[in-house]
């Protein structure tokens, strides 16, 4: 540690002294607090791209909370950092999903075979997969659901490049349905907000996922009978 005056910061309710030139991430690493990163490289001391945004932490608490990348945020006196609140967790989860949406998924010919940090991230943040909506270019009024078509986009595993919806054809779930509860919940909300008959959605789900168990979950959450 250098001889410059230290600053006092609070990380996860723990008061620590830090070098003012340090960034929040460095302090956390020193304390052994795990913050996920992908673009951070200790060899690049000054150049931190801050592009993966996985190291998001909450600064402040209650009403005045805001979120910053730990790798780019310098420490200052009185800084209050929370690294693992439920909100931070869900924010990071969204980021993993965003990254996944743009990530190459040809795992079979990837040089990083078997030791993939991305797969670990997906596991840690409970990302079971994304839906076709993540890849679908149709937004707002163009969305097939807004046009009254019963599209299974909000429920179906992505990876096809939304080849059907791009052609103006509703998604019929050929890649299988994502069994994650959050995704089913948000899909039910989407269908309700677009005024779509949930019973008909269930009918359409039966085509490719008759016995996958997702339909039961969907019925339970949506409150419809199969």
């Amino acid at each position: 540690m250098s001889s410059i005056r230290k600053v006092r910061v609070k990380i996860d309710d723990l008061e620590v002294l830090a070098d003012p030139e340090e960034k929040v991430l460095d302090v956390c690493r020193r304390l052994g607090i795990h913050i996920p990163t992908l673009c951070y490289n200790p060899l690049l001391k000054e150049e931190r791209p801050g592009s993966c945004r996985l190291c998001m932490v909450a600064i402040g608490k209650g009403e005045k909370v805001y979120y910053r990348e730990a790798c780019k945020t310098p420490v200052r006196s009185g800084l209050e950092v929370y690294t693992n609140t439920p909100d931070v967790h869900s924010l990071r989860r969204d980021i993993v999903e965003f990254l996944l949406a743009r990530h190459r998924r040809n795992c079979w010919d990837c040089p990083i075979s078997g030791n993939c940090p991305f797969v670990e991230l997906c596991r840690d943040y409970d990302v079971e997969g994304l839906t076709v909506c993540a890849e679908c270019p149709l937004q707002g009024e163009e969305c097939l659901l807004s046009r009254g078509e019963i599209c299974l986009g909000p429920l179906t595993y992505f990876g096809c490049g939304a080849s059907c919806t791009k052609q103006g054809h509703y998604c019929f779930g050929c890649r299988g349905l994502v069994p994650h509860e959050d995704i089913i919940k948000s899909a039910v909300e989407v269908y309700k907000s677009k005024g779509i008959d949930l019973q008909k959605v269930v009918e359409r789900m039966e085509l490719f996922s008759y016995s996958s168990g997702v339909i039961e979950k969907f019925c339970e959450i949506a409150g419809v009978r199969r």
Binding site: S163, C164, H169, L207
Partner: protein
């Protein structure tokens, strides 16, 4: 009594084998066994709404997806009495030609050409015929790309719906395809020349019963009437043309004429029956080759090669016509479901494909599908029986007989995984 088995035949689509049963030196039986498990598509679609029918049925095969798709669409449209626009019809024809090109080039270059040139596989040809292989890949890709542009995907064209297309190809992409087709004709002509210079086994088909759909003005693989030799039937009466019966040694049903004779469908049958509809360049080839009308099933591969030329010529014509009219922004027609029954048929690469679907309040009540390979299997068996008998009298070795059997089966370009039938269990 002993039995000769070819084992699973390589270089065909699906799993099948030929078993030759001998008693002493006398031939007892020849069985063409399709060992694919049944996939129950006919039962699978029962109770599904009409708009899902083409989506489900085109998954019967991944080579002739467009054909199954269009046959199902035609069945639904015939049932609900839908008339599509001229543009939709042209695009469908283009999609169909794409599928024909893809399938024929696959068979010509990678499955049958090694037999003619005397190689064990297409990969072994690489050293001696590198250019031909490269051409094969390029041509097959063209077929896939036509389907991608028109149907939206290289396989399982999701774009093509009952009543029309959900999205239309851009003029640019069509013009691009046309450019590639013009240069593809040269490559395909090269394939025809290559096949014409080879000698193949002389096999006589003594039944000479061929069947195909009767096309309209062009050689377009569609039609509302069935040709069986000289006779003409409406497609709704397909059951008078083909009589199916289950057999114990194979999961494919046996298809015969009413008189119990074997029928051949496919490229050779089409050329023999409707060659006068061929576009000019293909017609010249047909006439100048001096081999047609041909009753040798081995010449199926030459017929396929001529059909690819015909398809390429016709594709260029279609694209010119679409471009000269300009692409109209049409949406699929509104459909009013009825309680009725419809039969749809197309000429798939391997022959006539029938989809017969009955609807009740817009949902499927009953379905019957007859695939071309199922029709050809009996013909194949009978030809094999004759050939094996001939070879036995010439005292050929087992290995030679087995090899011959494989070559004959392959010439038909069988696609054995189209197992779509229902098995009824007796209680």
């Amino acid at each position: 009594m002993r039995e000769m088995h070819t084992g699973l035949i390589a270089r065909i689509e699906g799993h099948g084998n030929v078993s030759i049963v001998l008693r002493g030196n006398e031939l007892e039986n020849v069985k063409m066994q399709v060992v694919e498990g049944s996939r129950f598509f006919e039962t699978l679609i029962k109770g599904r709404p009409w708009y899902e029918v083409p989506t489900i049925l085109m998954r019967i095969c991944s080579i002739c997806t467009a054909d199954h798709n269009l046959a199902a669409i035609k069945a639904v449209e015939n049932a609900f009495e839908v008339e599509v626009s001229e543009q939709t019809h042209l695009l469908r024809e283009l999609l169909m030609h794409g599928s024909i090109l893809e399938s024929h080039f696959l068979h010509i270059f990678f499955l049958s050409l090694p037999d003619l040139l005397g190689f064990p596989s297409a990969l072994a040809m690489k050293k001696y015929y590198p250019e031909e292989l490269e051409k094969g890949f390029r041509l097959k890709k063209l077929g896939n790309d036509i389907q991608r542009v028109v149907g939206g995907r290289a396989i399982h064209p999701e774009n093509s719906k009952v009543g029309g297309f959900t999205s239309l190809p851009t003029e640019n992409r069509l013009a691009n395809l046309k450019r590639r087709m013009v240069s593809a004709i040269e490559d395909a002509l090269h394939a025809v020349d290559l096949i014409l210079t080879q000698d193949y086994a002389e096999i006589k088909d003594s039944w000479k019963i061929y069947s195909s759909l009767m096309p309209g003005r062009n050689y377009d693989y569609f039609g509302d009437r069935i040709l069986l030799g000289e006779r003409v039937y409406e497609i709704s009466k397909y059951k008078e043309v083909i009589v199916e019966s289950p057999i114990s040694h194979s999961t494919a049903k046996r298809s015969t004429t009413k008189e119990g004779k074997p029928i051949m469908v496919g490229s050779l049958a089409r050329l023999n029956l409707i060659w006068d509809k061929l576009p000019p360049m293909a017609k010249d080839l047909y006439k100048n080759s001096g081999r047609f009308p041909s009753y040798n099933p081995m010449e199926n591969i030459l017929a396929q090669a001529i059909e690819t030329i015909a398809s390429l010529e016709r594709c260029i014509e279609i694209i010119d016509e679409i471009l000269s009219r300009g692409i109209k922004n049409e949406k699929p027609l509104e459909i009013k479901p009825k309680n009725s029954k419809g039969v749809g048929a197309v000429e798939a690469p391997r022959g006539t494909l029938y989809h017969d679907i009955e609807f009740d309040e817009g949902k499927v009540k009953a379905c019957n599908i007859i695939t071309p390979t199922a029709i050809n299997t009996y013909h194949m068996e009978e030809i094999l029986r004759k050939e094996v008998m001939g070879m036995l009298s010439e005292e050929k070795s087992d290995a030679e007989i087995k090899n011959m059997a494989e070559v004959i089966v392959r010439a038909y370009d069988p696609c054995l995984s189209c197992s779509a039938h229902v098995i009824r269990v007796k209680e």
